[in-house]
Subunit: 209 residues, 2 copies
C-alpha cells in the first residue's frame, strides 16, 4: 500500500477496539517520526507524553468532551508545549548542537544571538502560539506515521487542559497541553469508518500561480 | 528506503539546485497528502497556494528574511488560513458532506448546530489561532510526503505576511498567510545537508506514563 492509500485509509476514529494494543515496536517507530519533525529554529518547544497505563487513561476520561476515544484507545499521546523559551533553554539547545556536531560552542554564537533576539521580541502570548503550532507539525507526523503503520488515530482538541495538567502533573507555569492524539485500532462497531471522506474539491483548495 | 529513513534524510534546505524542477506528478502526490490532512471538525479552514511561476517567485523574494530558498526553489507553497468561519462557510461544508455521502442535509443538523455553536463561542483571535494550527498539520503532511518522494523542502515562518498578501492578492480581511514551504532539490553547495541532525534525546523529549 503506498502512502496516499494509507492516508486515504486514515480517519478520525470515534471508537477503538479495546482488546487491541499497539505494539511497543510500532509505538517506537511512530514516536521516532515525531522526534524527526521539523520545528521552528530547531527548538522543539515541547514534550511528548505517552499515556499507556490503563489507570491513567481512566483518570483522563473526564477531561475530554468525547470520552469514547480515551476509554477505548491503546495509547494516548499528549503534546505539551513550552510556555516560555528562556536563555537557559536556548543555552542547553546550543550546548547540544555543539556536542552533536562536534563544533566549538563559540562558533555558534552568531546563530545563538539571532535566535535569542528573535525570541525576546515575542510577547508571552506569541511564544505560546508559536510553540503550539510546532506541536501541530508533530501531530501531523504522528498521524502520518501511524497511518503508514496501519495504526489508527484520533486527534483531539476538545479537552480541559486544566484537568489533563492536574492528572499528568504538568506545571502550568511552564508548560501547556497543546493537543492530544489517541492511538489504537478501529472498532468494527465504529460506523464512521464506512463514511466517504469529505474534502474540498481541488479547485476550492488549491490555487496555482 | 523506509519512512523513518526518509524523515532522517529530510532537513531544512538552505539552498536548492536552481536547475532542478519537481515534476508535476510528484507535486500532485504531495498536494494529495496535504488534501488528506486531518483538520479540526473537518473544516479545512485554509487555502493552499502553489507558486510555480518564476516571475512570481522572484516577486516574493523580498518578502522573506532568508531569500536564498525562494530564489532557488522549484515551487513555493503558501498556506493561507481563514480569518473567520461564518455561517455561509459552515453551510457550504455541510452541503458538501450531504452530497459526498449522499445523505439528507437535515440529518446533519445536530452536527452542524454543534459546530456552529462551538465556532461562535470563539473570539476572532481564537479562530485565527485555531485555523493557523490546522495549517501546521498540512505543513507536516507536505514535508512528510515530500520526504517520501525524495523531494526536499524548507518550511519558512520568517516573512512579511503583508508583502506576500500583496503579491499574491490575498484579501487580508478574510485570509492570512499562516506559513510557507519551499520545495525543490537540495543544492550540492548547501553545506547544511552534511550536518548531523540535532534532536533532544529521548529521555528529554518523551515521558511514558
Amino acid at each position: 500500500m503506498n502512502y496516499l492509500e494509507s492516508l486515504r485509509n486514515r480517519y478520525s476514529v470515534k471508537k477503538f477496539d479495546k482488546d487491541k494494543t499497539v505494539s511497543s515496536d510500532l509505538i517506537a517507530n511512530i514516536l521516532e517520526a515525531a522526534k524527526l519533525s521539523a520545528s521552528s529554529l530547531g527548538l522543539q518547544p515541547y514534550e511528548i507524553i505517552i499515556v499507556q497505563s490503563a489507570e491513567m487513561k481512566e483518570k483522563l476520561v473526564p477531561a475530554f468532551y468525547n470520552p469514547s476515544q480515551i476509554s477505548t484507545c491503546s495509547h494516548l499521546i499528549v503534546l505539551v508545549s513550552k510556555n516560555t523559551i528562556g536563555e537557559e533553554y536556548i543555552g542547553k539547545y546550543f550546548s547540544h548542537i555543539s556536542q552533536t556536531r562536534e563544533i566549538p560552542l563559540e562558533s555558534l554564537n552568531p546563530f545563538k544571538q539571532s535566535i535569542s533576539s528573535h525570541i525576546e521580541k515575542l510577547s508571552p502570548e506569541e511564544v505560546m502560539a508559536w510553540a503550539d503550532k510546532q506541536c501541530y507539525i508533530v501531530l501531523g507526523n504522528l498521524m502520518f506515521a501511524a497511518a503508514l503503520e496501519n495504526v489508527d488515530t484520533c486527534p483531539m482538541e476538545g479537552f480541559s487542559p486544566e484537568k489533563i495538567s492536574q492528572v499528568l502533573e504538568i506545571d502550568a507555569s511552564t508548560e501547556k497541553v497543546a493537543v492530544t492524539l489517541a492511538l489504537g485500532y478501529r472498532s468494527e462497531e465504529d460506523q464512521f469508518q464506512k463514511l466517504k471522506k469529505v474534502r474540498k474539491p481541488n479547485d476550492k483548495l488549491f490555487k496555482f500561480i
